[in-house]
């Protein structure tokens, strides 16, 4: 139930299209404060007092371009729309799932510039200019990514609703730690929850995928 700090995005001041002052970034505030993600209002107010010159977007829809799995995709969304909802509702990219919708369960995990993030806790407009990688990009045709193959082989899914998020979290873990220790496995999956109880399979899948990727499988 504890969460890995690695999940928080580090910095976002190189946006294109929409400029966001790094001082206003909710993520930076959260990172610095170490507070949980459940205090967005407080973050906004604090930031506003410090930086009055905040650019304003919306409340109407804003035209945005997101780089999803290497392709630029256009959408028009209100600034309050999360990356997750934009992916699912506007871009019909539904691998990432909406479950808790507030940064707890990890079902919406995608990669932003190669790092795992909760897509429910990133605004779509903030995600512009970043490389967004979703679960849909991992398999090539019928050839599964070693992490996906390992999930299948070890029956690390039942209903499968948490699975795309877990696959992305585990891929991110193995990208960073090709031979993770038990503690790294616990941390790397600590931001994801499963209701059917597939953790035994997931542990085995991480071990199999780690071995396969070191042997020259695709990273």
């Amino acid at each position: 139930m504890s969460k890995s700090d690695e999940r928080l995005i580090e910095t976002t001041n190189d946006t294109s299209g929409v400029k966001i002052d790094p001082a206003v970034s909710r993520r930076n505030f959260l990172k610095g404060s170490g507070l949980a993600l459940s205090l967005p209002l407080m973050a906004a107010e604090t930031a506003e007092a410090a930086e009055p010159a905040v650019p304003i977007f919306g409340p109407e829809k804003v035209a945005i371009t997101l780089t999803i799995n290497g392709k630029p995709l256009k959408a028009a969304v209100e600034p309050r729309v999360t990356l997750l909802d934009c992916l699912r509702n506007d871009l019909d990219t539904t691998g990432a799932k909406r479950v808790c919708d507030r940064g707890t369960c990890g079902a919406c995990t995608v990669q932003l510039n190669g790092k795992p993030v909760y897509a429910c806790s990133v605004l779509a407009i903030e995600a512009q200019g970043h490389k967004i990688t979703t679960v849909e990009s991992l398999a090539t045709g019928d050839t599964l990514h070693p992490v996906q193959k390992a999930f299948w082989d070890n029956d690390a899914q039942q209903c499968g609703f948490c699975t795309p998020g877990f696959v992305m979290a585990c891929k991110s873990l193995l990208d960073k730690h090709p031979s993770p220790t038990d503690e790294q496995v616990k941390l790397g999956t600590g931001g994801n929850l499963c209701r059917c109880g597939t953790y035994v399979g997931i542990k085995a899948a991480i071990a199999q995928a780690s071995a396969a990727m070191k042997k020259g499988g695709r990273a």
Binding site: F151, C159, T163, V167, T198, V200
Partner: protein
């Protein structure tokens, strides 16, 4: 007429092997489309205004401002003026707008005046409930309990045990996408455990022909017993679609609503008195039990669980509370009954200074027809967890205990029915040799598709990938709802019968060419051959080519001739925990399960079911609790930070052993979803009591409760 039976063990090509689920690649790649993932052209987003009060009367509603909000296409009052709202989250108004954000804004523009009424949301302390909330208790007596308890020389234990309310917390919330395809026909994509029945249920509510509702669902993100009905939101969103000119409307519950209204497992509390002779022989049971499933009635859990004591006196009282309604929660009533019964039994064993394993074995005949199964399973589980080497008298601390961290072991036994549900299927054998099974069932993640593929391929002696499985649609032959562990028996029996019939038709077709009769043919490893003579054979493809372009079709049914599936299983679980007596935190060291379920079709997904039940069990034993605020009547943890599920790090080492082979296979297929869910609470609670020397009476065993029990030292 054909004879229907499962193949002998040595002849099985696929059945009982470890086979990876066939929808695995779709699920791991994100390609699997759940109903929540369905996007339709011009789709609107539905929202529901829900009661902020646990009990209130609606004085007035004004939706006029909401109707004028940008993007709003339809607004409909569900429960209007003078309606008495019975729980927080009770539905008031439904609306649909072009974006989800617009729909949210419109909800805020609805003005409702309420008259607040008194409420009750917790029933742990029954004495505090007003008389109006207490239903008339039901009573039951077996034997002569009063006389039995008065016998001289008995050891009698009295205690209180309980289970708080928990929710299903399906990761895919309840909901659907619904649309009027034209002015007569409705198409829905629900998240449902009953795809064959849900269309008819919606049609009845809308007073339209059942054949005009088409329901389709490829995948479902969890159900656990909570997703049988079409639900008020299914009906109201379909009405909104009509109001909006037939446009598709998507509505899936937000997480707080999902946890508040989409199903709870009823609470269960009991004061128990149980007596045994000094040698441990169980004599008599008395329980005064109560529980709540919301405002409605609920049935009593089976007290005492599994053990049939000769003398029993039981009362059960329903407490009506202002909570979202209960729904079947994986093995309704059994986990709660296990916590209460096995807790009392373990406490009695401690009072007798007996090892509970010996105590259970001594009384094993009181478990009835499965006494020998339990004996075998207890012995296997004890070996897996190292019971004899690690178990110590209560409070003495199992090996490895320190001054502040105490280790203990606990056990529980359980049962379940799991008899097959009614099921039809069509089997098609095509001229090109491909085979398809069509069935209006659903795969909750238990491996339904995989099971069907295995059974059909086995029956026709084909490779797995020759068989296509088509499920998840109410236009397919109807199959029962997936609940109560009834699915696998129902679907595998129907698939087996249909396949055998289809094969016989194929035999009839090719027999003349082979110069023989159909009854002299058999299918072996992708070939049709004269029984026992491999020299007179043709390949499956050659045989099917005789069909031309018209496939063979047969209808497989359950129930039907001969018995392929039965019910009734026993299981044993043992837990090894460590408890930090300074913080009250319980840590799982090891947890083992031994389970029978008759003939296993796919060992891999069967084991996954048991692992899953154990992990769900760790979760409900240690973390899960629907925390209701007495003052406001609201759920305080309607989110996933504080409605806690176990993570990968919380489960310790898990081991599963399936009882298979002789003595088990002969019973046919039996459902497995529920049984292993029944014992975790009891086994873990007993392990904690063994570790710290006192009973933590109510699950979940939170740190606060562990510390409270320690502070009381077992008194009160």
């Amino acid at each position: 007429m054909a004879e229907y039976k499962w193949p002998e063990a040595e002849k099985r090509q696929h059945i009982g092997k470890r086979i990876s689920r066939i929808d695995g690649p779709d699920k791991v790649s994100g390609r699997a489309k759940y109903s929540y993932d369905i996007n339709r052209p011009g789709m609107l987003y539905g929202k529901i205004l829900r009661s902020p009060y646990a009990h209130a009367k609606i004085v007035s509603i004004d939706t006029s401002a909401a109707e004028k909000m940008p993007g709003v296409k339809a607004v409909k009052i569900i429960n209007g003026k003078d309606f008495e709202l019975q729980w927080v989250g009770h539905e008031i108004v439904a609306l649909a707008a072009e974006t989800e954000q617009q729909a949210e804004d419109a909800l805020r523009a609805i003005k409702v005046q309420y008259e607040k009424l008194s409420h009750l949301v917790n029933d742990l302390e029954r004495a505090k409930a007003p008389a109006a909330s207490l239903r008339k208790p039901a009573e039951g007596v077996d034997g002569e309990p009063d006389k039995a308890f008065a016998e001289a020389g008995l050891v009698i234990h009295e205690g209180f045990y309980g289970n708080d309310v928990i929710t299903h917390c399906c990761l895919e919330p309840h909901g659907l996408v619904t649309e009027w395809s034209d002015d007569k026909n409705v198409m829905i994509h629900p998240s449902s455990q009953a795809i064959s029945g849900i269309g008819g249920e919606l049609a009845r509510a809308l007073e339209m022909p059942a054949s005009n509702v088409h329901a389709h669902m490829d995948h479902i993100g969890g159900g656990f017993g909570s997703k049988f009905p079409v639900d008020i939101w299914g009906i109201e969103m379909t009405k909104l679609s009509k109001l909006a000119g037939g446009k598709p409307v998507k509505y899936f519950l937000e997480r707080d609503a999902e946890l508040a209204v989409a199903g709870t497992r009823p609470s269960a509390y009991a004061r128990v008195k149980v007596a045994a002779k000094k040698d441990g022989t169980l004599v008599a049971w008395e329980s005064d039990a109560w529980g709540s499933g919301g405002v409605g009635n609920i049935g009593s859990p089976p007290y005492p669980y599994v053990w049939k004591l000769p003398h029993q006196k039981k009362t059960f009282q329903v407490v009506a509370t202002n909570n979202g309604p209960q729904r079947a929660w994986r093995a309704p009533n059994h986990p709660q009954a296990a916590v209460i019964t096995m807790g009392a039994m373990e406490d009695l064993a401690a009072k007798l200074q007996m090892d509970p394993l010996d105590f259970f074995l001594k009384n094993i005949d009181l478990t009835g027809v499965r006494a020998n199964v339990y004996k075998e399973e207890l012995s296997k589980a004890a070996e897996m967890i190292g019971w004899k080497a690690n178990w110590r008298q209560r409070g003495a601390g199992a090996p490895g205990s320190t001054k502040t961290v105490k280790r203990g072991l606990g056990l529980s036994i359980h049962t379940w029915g799991g008899t097959p549900h009614q099921s039809d299927c069509d089997i098609l054998i095509n001229g090109d040799g491909t085979v398809e099974i069509r069935m209006g069932t659903q795969d909750l993640g238990v491996g339904t598709r995989t099971t069907l593929q295995i059974v059909v391929a086995e029956s026709l002696a084909l490779s797995l990938n020759t068989v296509k499985v088509t499920i998840g649609d109410n236009k397919l032959p109807p199959s029962g709802a997936s609940g109560g562990s009834t699915t696998i028996g129902g679907i595998s029996s129907a698939a087996r019968r249909g396949s055998i019939d289809a094969l016989n038709l194929l035999f009839e077709k090719v027999a003349p060419t082979m110069g023989t009769t159909a009854d002299k043919l058999e299918a072996v490893s992708g070939k049709i051959q004269v029984i026992g003579d491999a020299t007179k054979s043709m390949t499956w493809k050659q045989a099917c080519a005789k069909l031309g372009v018209t496939p063979i079709t047969t209808r497989g049914k359950q129930p039907g001739k001969d018995t392929l599936a039965t019910g009734g299983v026993g299981g044993v679980q043992m837990a090894d925990v460590s408890v930090d007596i300074e913080t009250g935190i319980v840590k799982m060291n090891k947890f083992v399960a031994v389970q029978d379920c008759g003939l296993i079709i796919d060992l891999k997904t069967a084991e996954s079911q048991v692992f899953g039940a154990m992990i769900m069990g760790v979760t409900y034993s240690l973390y899960e609790e629907k925390i209701m605020d007495d003052a406001t009547g609201k759920m305080l943890n309607g989110n996933m930070e504080f409605y806690k599920l176990a993570g990968l790090r919380d489960i310790g080492e898990l081991q599963v052993h399936m009882m298979t082979g002789k003595g088990y296979d002969e019973r046919g297929v039996i459902g497995l979803g529920e049984p292993p869910t029944n014992s975790p609470g009891a086994a873990i609670s007993n392990a904690v009591a063994n570790a710290i020397g006192v009973r933590v009476p109510t699950i979940p065993l939170t740190p606060a409760r562990v510390l409270e029990a320690l502070a009381k030292g077992g008194k009160g």
